[in-house]
Amino acid sequence: MKILLVEDEKELSDSMAEYLQKENYLCEVVNNFEYALEKINLYHYDCIIVDIGLPDGSGLNLIRSLKKNRSETGIMIISARNSLDDKITGLEIGADDYLTKPFHLPELNARIKSIIRRRSFGGVNEIVFNELRILPENMEVMVNDESLTLTKKEYDLLVFFLSNQDRVLTREAIAEHLWGDDMDMADSFDFIYTHIKNLRKKILEKGGEDYIKTIYGMGYKFTGQ
């Protein structure tokens, strides 16, 4: 998987690249519009992450250029501008998703995975982890080929975990993933606890293993080790 990361803030692009590279993505980083345009014209990427406010041009124009070439590349917009107009324009001209800075890296990762999943027509449109199998199209979860009934939030939580395997997920990142950023933090931590408890119980009941580890004072980690 090849990903192009267009972000002018070097430290930020480094962080993103470091996080994404652990997912075995080949991550290329460019820091300006001109260079990015050159790259997308020369090479093919599975996904491109674009910052809208680049010093020498709008990221929106990169998307327009990609779409003009009928590219199949998945497009993820990141922007500091918390503006609905940008979001609408971006999605209208063909971006797949939109993320506002500052965001959690696991969130970016989960969304990119989702984009890539949706783009891969090869039929591998499912997430498999040992005895767990998720069919995102039907929002269906199987444990040892047995169907598992989950609530919407539990399902979202499981997909988020599976998208960020072996990573420590902070409670903040989970809360924002599940409820957006206008949720009262203190309360949402209780809900996360409840949801995780229920999710564990349901998986265990179907003979699955408990992969969710609590990282004390920080959050949770989904790991097979």
Binding site: E9, L12, A80, N82, P102, H104, T170, E172, D187
Partner: protein
């Protein structure tokens, strides 16, 4: 008190005092003059009488000549020379009462070595009457003048102060955050022009400062975004390291939480400055009731978790023409506010009326003045975790669409009411 009333009053009172004092002085002077004249006549008459006595030693009937009270007595022995003139009270036959008279008394010895005394009385009433008439007519003239002065002063002042009221009117209408600068029309009065210039200069300076501050706020909030994003992303990378112990995790967690808080704060500030800068131009018809329903759904878990009962009373579908993002922020803030400051097993009541909608929640009694709730960074002592910008943002959004936000607190029920026209 109006300046005009004040000056008029001062004018009148000073004039009255001046009039009384000058009237008294005038009266005295007049009185003196009349007395001197009377005295001169008395002396002349006395001289005439003395002449007669010197030449004839007889006493002619002077009453025939002068027509008033003269009393001359010839003595046999010579007499030393004395005399005076003074005021005296005598019975006036003409009036039938006692009245003031000028009395001349003289004693002397004639050429023929015979003493004599002369008493001449002249009534003062004629001159007093004259003085009274003069004073009365003077007073009338003065009062007339004073009235004219006051009236003229009133009209002149009113005319002269017109530019001042125009300036005042302009100042009233002026708002620091509006587009056009303060413009004052020039007047033909030097002092008002000076005032104009000073005001214009001052308003320009204030405006500039205000703009700078606003720009600074916006830039500061905007520029903080990137470093915050970097801190967050680096922390997220840091916690992925395998060899962290629990203590280190705790430290990172605390930094993480503080950063999240700061990030929220920053977003709030940025939002406020964007609202202030009118950056939400696009508007459409937003159905508030639908939006409230959606938001309640969004917070469903929290409402259930805290066993809050929600009752809705939609008397009318409310449709407001506003920016959809702002409408969403407005409703989200109101609803989350009602949940956050609620008590467990509490209530939330939502009302939609033709001209307003309101959200009421049960909650603990406020210790602070309700009005300052709308100030930035104002938070309740019960919930110190909140950033304290929620109601300030509500207020800003409401102001932008000329809506009115009222906070009503009644026996543990807190109501936020948004009224519109």
């Amino acid at each position: 008190m109006k300046l005009l009333t004040r000056t008029s009053r001062l004018y009148v009172s000073i004039s009255v005092v001046v009039f009384i004092i000058s009237g008294l002085i005038f009266y005295n002077i007049l009185h003196g003059i009349f007395k001197r004249q009377l005295d001169e006549t008395l002396i002349e008459e006395k001289l005439l009488i003395e002449q007669t006595i010197n030449f004839s030693d007889s006493v002619p009937d002077f009453r025939l000549i002068f027509g008033h009270m003269i009393d001359v007595t010839i003595l046999n022995a010579p007499h030393s020379k004395t005399g005076y003139i003074k005021d005296t009270l005598m019975y006036d036959h003409d009036l039938g009462t006692f009245a003031s008279f000028r009395h001349l008394f003289a004693e002397n010895t004639s050429f023929r070595k015979k003493g004599y005394t002369i008493n001449i009385y002249k009534p003062l009433r004629d001159s007093e009457q004259l003085i009274a008439e003069i004073v009365i007519s003077m007073s009338l003239v003065f009062i007339g003048l004073l009235l004219l002065l006051v009236i003229f002063n009133y009209f002149i002042a009113r005319r002269v102060w017109i530019p001042f009221y125009r300036i005042l009117d302009n100042l009233h209408k002026y708002e620091i955050n509006q587009e056009n600068p303060l413009e004052l029309t020039s007047t033909d009065i030097y002092e008002f022009d000076l005032l104009n210039q000073a005001l214009e200069k001052m308003s320009k300076k204030i405006r500039l400062d205000y703009m700078n501050l606003k720009e600074f706020n916006e830039n500061a909030a905007h520029e903080l975004q990137t470093p915050l994003a970097i801190i967050k992303s680096k922390l997220e990378l840091l916690i992925q390291k395998e060899n962290l112990d629990e203590n280190q995790m705790h430290l990172i967690s605390a930094v993480f939480e503080a950063t999240t808080r700061m990030s929220k704060l920053n977003q709030g500030l940025l939002l406020i400055s964007k609202i202030e800068n009118n950056q939400f131009i696009h508007t459409e018809d937003v159905n508030i009731v639908t939006l409230i329903e959606k938001t309640i759904g969004h917070f469903e878990e929290m409402i259930t978790h805290r066993h809050i009962a929600v009752s809705k009373n939609y008397r009318q579908q409310v449709t407001l023409n506003m920016n959809p993002t702002l409408a969403e922020i407005l409703i989200t803030n109101l609803v989350s506010n009602a949940i956050r400051h609620n008590i467990n097993q509490g209530r939330i009541e939502i009302n939609a009326e033709p001209d307003s909608f309101s959200i009421t929640n049960t909650g603990q009694l406020l210790k602070t003045d309700p009005q300052i709730l709308f100030e930035r960074f104002r938070k309740s002592e019960i919930n110190p975790d909140s950033v304290g910008l929620g109601l300030s943002i509500v207020q800003k959004i409401a102001n932008l669409y000329l809506m009115k936000v009222d906070y009503i607190c009644n026996q543990g029920l807190h109501t936020l009411k948004i009224s519109y026209k």
